[in-house]
Structure formats: C-alpha cells, structure tokens
C-alpha cells in the first residue's frame, strides 16, 4: 500500500542529498573535531561549513552565532535557562498558551520552582496581540519566549513587532522557530530576537540535531556544561554526521523556500478547499492569512480524531489530530482549547502538514477517501443528525 505522508510538522523525510552528505561522516570521517591530529581535524571544516549554511538560512550575521544542539527542545531549554542564569535578579517569564511542550512544559516546571509565568492568550483565530506582550512586561521579566509559527495550526506570530517591543524595554526575546524555518524566508537581522531555536528533522535532516541562534552580544550561560565544544557554549562532542546533515538540509531549504509558497501552498489550498466543499460541518482552525503555507488544521464536527486517523491509516494516509485520544493526555489540544474551538469540533480536528515532496496525485487520493471516512464515522456517532 502506498503511503501519503501529510504529517510533516511532526517530522519529515530525510532528503536523499542529505543522506549522501552525511554518509562519509558515518563511514570514513569518524574523527573527533577537537582532536589535535589531522584525522580529527578533517571533520572540523565540514562542521563549520554546516554552521555557515544554517546561519545563511536564517540570515544570521555570523556563523559563530549558531550553536548546534541535539534537538529543538534542547535549543529552547538552552535559551530560557541562559536568560534566567544571566539575570538572576529576575523571576518573570512571558510566553503563550499555545506553545509547543518544549517551552510550555518548561514554563510549568519553572512555575513550580517559584518563577512567575505569564501565558498570553490567543484569539479565536489563534493570533496574539503584541500589545498584550507590552502590557505583560515588568522590571522582573527575564525573557519573553514566543513561537514563530504554531505547530498545530500553522498560525504565524508577529515576532518582528514583539522584538521591537522587547528591545524597547531591554527584555530578551526567544522564539521557537522550529515550524517556521525552511517554510518561510527568514532574516533574524530584522527580528530583534536574542535567541531562535530550530530543529533538523523538520527540514529533511535526520532526528537528533537542532540549533540555537544566539545574537552576538547576548549574555549567555551554557545549558550542557562540559568540554569546550561550540566555543564553550555547549559541552558534548559534536554529532558530526548530524551536523553535516543539518547543514545540507539548510542549504536545500534555502534553495526550495520559494517552492513552499508556490507548489506546497497550492497543494495545501486545494486539499483544504476540497475537504471543506465535500464534507459538511467542517471548518479550518486558525487564521487563514497569517499561516504557514504547508499546514491546514481542519475539524469535522461530531466525529473523533483518533477514529479518523485510524481509518486514514488503513488507507496509507498519515496525518495527526488534536483529539484527546491521540494527545496521550485525555484532553484535546491545548492550542484549540486556547482558541475557544468548541469541543464538538476540537475532538474531530485533523492536521495535514505538507512538504515539497507531496504531489497532486496524493492530494487527489486524500480528497477521494476523506469524505467516506467522515460519513461512516458520523453514521456511528450519537451526536450526528442529518
């Protein structure tokens, strides 16, 4: 059975070029870049090339502003802990109700440790009001941590504007840009952010590598304390094959970023329109304009997301859901709840997230099979009345 993979906000296919680029570093070039001998030294240059590629992808002035990490979550933790550890007299963190668990769970953890956390609300379209950020800032605010794009809805946040506000008050700003990087052109020089987190496996690199941008001049404390790697900012031997892979993926992302706005967006829009037209009582969650080009979050009223996913999976279609049963927490998506999406819709939400590898045939296949799945489940549902 064929697989139609529409879950690219969860993880992506590793690009074939990326696999090729990393293979020599799994086979012959297994040296440690910290070694004095020439054999180890041979892997130092590729690591620095990768750093330059990542810097270029996000518009960083200098490659030295990039720290390689093991994942996006480590990059987020590094940024937030660094801010707290450099300004120990401050105890306030501003974030949002719709952050990824990488930030949200850390914020909850810090709250239990005695920090004060402000979780900014979103409106019914999932948007935040930059004025709310300004109102929340106090003299005790150590860091503002707001995602660039929401992983569930694709809704974009006004980081540039928030950056101006934060800079005006001299408060550090971190943005989790894991979902945005590679899907939208990005230039950190315009953003006024101190930190920006990204992840390799969302941009066709393998799992196990991420990066943190730290703006030059930002006071910094390492999260992983150890050796002198990454200029003393992240202990631990560099995962050379993964770092090289991330560098290659960053290069490819830059080459293909316009495709996101043309090819990927066209497929996404076709899929979304097709579903809304074919399936009554369905809706898109999240602002239609301020949104990633690859993501659509569609709710089908009165049916439950896990059941939909299981039936899709039987047909080889991979997506994800904000339903309680799939979140592992028994509660439906905190993002949809923060937006006030009614329970009748929240439990039946499906997120389709595309990539440049998706095709028109695949969208056609999904559009052919989704309406009967929803109709069948509605037939079983006690809440569905024709």
């Amino acid at each position: 059975m064929k697989t139609v993979y529409l879950d690219n906000n969860a993880t992506t296919q590793v690009a074939p070029e990326v696999v090729e680029a990393m293979l020599p570093f799994l086979r012959e070039h297994y040296g440690n870049p910290s070694s004095m001998h020439a054999f180890g030294g041979r892997v130092e240059a590729p690591v620095e090339e990768a750093r330059a590629s990542v810097a270029k992808l996000i518009g960083a002035d200098q490659p030295s502003e990039i720290i390689f990490t093991s994942c996006g979550t480590e990059a987020d933790s590094t940024a937030i802990w660094s801010a707290l550890n450099t300004e120990t007299d401050k105890n306030h963190i501003i974030t949002t109700r719709v952050e990824h668990p990488a930030v949200r769970s850390l914020a909850l953890h810090l709250k239990r440790k005695g920090y004060r956390i402000t979780e900014l609300p979103v409106d019914s379209a999932g948007l935040i009001d930059p004025r709310d950020v300004e109102r929340a800032i106090t003299k005790k605010t150590a860091i503002i941590s707001i995602m660039s794009a929401n992983n569930e809805t694709g809704v974009l946040f006004p980081i540039e504007e928030i950056g101006r506000i934060a800079a005006g008050y001299g408060v550090k700003l971190h943005t989790d840009a894991v979902q945005l990087v590679g899907k939208q052109p990005l230039d950190v020089r315009n953003l006024n952010v101190n930190f920006l987190a990204l992840s390799g496996h969302k941009i066709h690199a393998p799992k196990g590598v991420g990066a943190l941008y730290v703006k030059r001049g930002t006071r910094f404390r390492p999260f992983l304390i150890g050796g002198h790697q990454e200029r003393g900012r992240r202990g631990g031997t560099e995962a050379v094959p993964n770092v090289v892979a991330l560098g290659k993926a960053a290069e490819l992302a830059l080459d293909h970023v316009t495709e996101e706005r043309t090819h990927v967006r066209a497929l996404r829009d076709w899929l979304e329109q097709g579903l809304l037209e074919a399936i009554p009582r369905s809706q898109v969650n999240g602002d239609l304009l301020n949104r990633l080009p690859n993501t659509t979050n569609v709710s089908f009223e009165h049916v439950e997301g896990e059941a939909i996913l299981l039936m899709m999976s039987d047909l080889g279609i991979a997506a994800s859901s904000g339903s309680a049963c799939t979140s592992g927490s028994l509660e439906p998506s905190h993002v949809l709840r923060a937006m006030g999406v009614p329970y009748t819709f929240a439990h039946g939400s499906i997120r389709f997230s595309l990539s440049r590898y998706n095709t028109a045939d695949e969208v056609e296949y999904v559009l052919e099979h989704m309406p009967p799945i929803i109709a069948r489940l509605r037939e079983i549902s006690p809440f569905w009345k024709d």
């Binding site: 009165h302 049916v303 439950e304 896990e306 059941a307 299981l310 039936m311 039987d314 339903s323 309680a324 049963c325 799939t326 979140s327 592992g328 927490s329 028994l330 509660e331 439906p332 329970y343 009748t344 439990h347 037939e379 079983i380 549902s381 006690p382 809440f383």
Partner: protein, 286 residues
C-alpha cells in the same frame, strides 16, 4: 501516539456491527459526553415475557477502542436475559476483545456503564443522580468523575496505582489538580478492603437437571441430615421431588415431637444451602 490494538479490536472498529438505534427499544442507556471526548448510546429490544434481549444497537462518539468496545458489548448481550447481562463487567468486554491497551480501559468501563443505564431504564429504576447522593462528590472536574466511580473501579478491577485509575476512569487525566485526592481515595479504599473480612464466596448457582437435583437432595439427606436425626432418635425419608417441591416424611421420635416444625425448617435450610435456594420442603403425611 500509535496504540497497539490487537487484530480483534482493529477488525471491530473497521467493521463495526449493530450500529444505529432501535426505534422501539425498551431499554436505552446513554453515557459520556462530547466534552469528555467519548459517548455511547446503547439501545436494547427486550422480550417482556422471557426478559431476553432480542436486539441491541449502539451509537458511539469516540476512538477506535470505544467503537470496538461498543460492538463487543452489543454482540455479548444479544440473546441473553436481563439477569444474565446484569453480571457483565468491563473486564468481560476487555476479555471479549482479547485485551485493550492500558490507556484505553476506560472505553470498556463506558460500555459497562451504558449497559447498567439501559438495565435501569428497562426496570424503570430512576438512576440516582450522583449529585443527589450526599456521599458522592465529583473528584475530577475535567471529566466529571465521582469518588464513587473511582472506588468502584478500584474494587472491581483491582486497581493499585493512580495511573490505573486514570486509565480506567480518566480521572486525573486532565489538568491534574485532583491527583492528591485520587491518591487519598486509592489509599483509603485499599485500606478498607484490607480490613474487611474476606467476603464469603457466593455459592455458585448450579444449573441442575432433575435427576442431578434428586441425587444431590438424596446425598445431602444421607450425609448431612439423617445422621443428626438418628443421633436424636428420629429419622426421615425422602418421598418425592416435584420441581422445587421436596416431600419428606419424618420417622421415629420426630413423629409427635413438638419441635418438628423447627426440624423441618432446618432440613429446608440445609437443602437450600447445598442444592438450590428455590427448594420448598413439605411433609408428605400433612
């Protein structure tokens, strides 16, 4: 999260049976809500004369295991009497399915609750609303789970941890603010259970043929009753067994004994205990 569903469960959510509503149903049970993320409406057609369920249908809003549990429930009850189905517990549904992932046990509990509600509806019993019961309080406000439901789940399924309770009842699976209270209920329920004397094993209701019944009556009289009477100088003889009516005749000193009525009720108690609770013992010479 990808659940490890077995082939039986997969088959039953892919090909659910008995979907829908019975128009002239005389027993309907509805549990759950769309807020909680799962709901089940069970409708039964019960033959009034035999109390046998002739048809069962369901409508379910929920995940794959909720749909599979609902199908299982309807398949299990069709053809059974109301007394028989009253004994079905959530574990029976799990067994029918060949097992459910731990996190999905609450789907089987929802099945049992829908069945209980349908039985109450058939019997015309007013379901006691939990809020009207002074001993009941909602513990988990995210999913509306009461202390009574948690206690019941602990006792019926031998639950030992907070995680078990969440898997079976969903309590504590939302905001988590009730976790301390749930742990306290768990502790108290287990403590009470430990103190309480072991419940006597209820005598298994035996299904006996007439011949078996007569043999068992004879055996009981020979081994359990006559030796005692003979010791007291009396005796008895089994005259006849007609359905549940056992006819005996007293002999020896029992004849004319003032206490013979007490002896008769003693004989009846013994036979009811050992053979069948429905037996009526009479003296043939009466």
């Amino acid at each position: 999260m990808a659940w490890e569903y077995n082939e039986k469960v997969k088959d039953l959510y892919r090909n659910p049976k008995n979907v829908g509503e019975i128009e002239d149903a005389n027993a309907v049970g509805e549990v759950g809500s769309i807020v909680c993320g799962d709901a089940l409406k069970l409708s039964l057609k019960v033959d009034k004369d035999t109390e046998t369920i002739t048809d069962a249908k369901f409508q379910t809003f929920g995940c794959g295991s909720a749909i599979a549990s609902s199908t299982a429930l309807t398949e299990m009850v069709i053809g059974k009497t109301m007394d028989e189905v009253a004994k079905i517990k959530n574990q029976d549904i799990v067994d029918y399915l060949g097992g459910l992932p731990a996190e999905k046990m609450h789907c089987s509990v929802m099945g049992q609750e829908a069945l209980e509600a349908a039985i109450a509806d058939y019997r015309g019993l007013k379901v006691v609303h939990e809020e009207e019961d002074p001993d009941t309080a909602i513990v988990c406000h995210c999913f509306g789970v009461s202390n009574k439901k948690i206690e019941k789940a602990i006792l019926e399924n031998g639950l030992r941890t907070l995680e078990d309770i969440t898997n079976y009842t969903k309590a504590g699976g939302g905001c988590g603010s009730c976790i301390d209270e749930i742990e306290q209920i768990l502790e108290e329920t287990l403590a009470n259970q430990a103190v309480a004397p072991p419940a006597p094993m209820p005598a298994k209701p035996k299904r006996l043929t007439t011949l078996q019944k007569i043999k068992l009556i004879e055996e009981t009289i020979e081994k359990e009753i006559r030796p005692q009477l003979i010791k007291d100088g009396g005796d008895l003889e089994l005259i006849d067994v007609e359905g549940n009516r056992v006819v005996i005749e007293f002999k020896g000193r029992c004849l004319g004994c003032q206490a013979v009525t007490y002896t008769l009720s003693g004989v009846q108690d013994k036979l009811r205990e050992m053979v069948s609770p429905d037996l009526e013992v009479t003296v043939g010479s009466d």
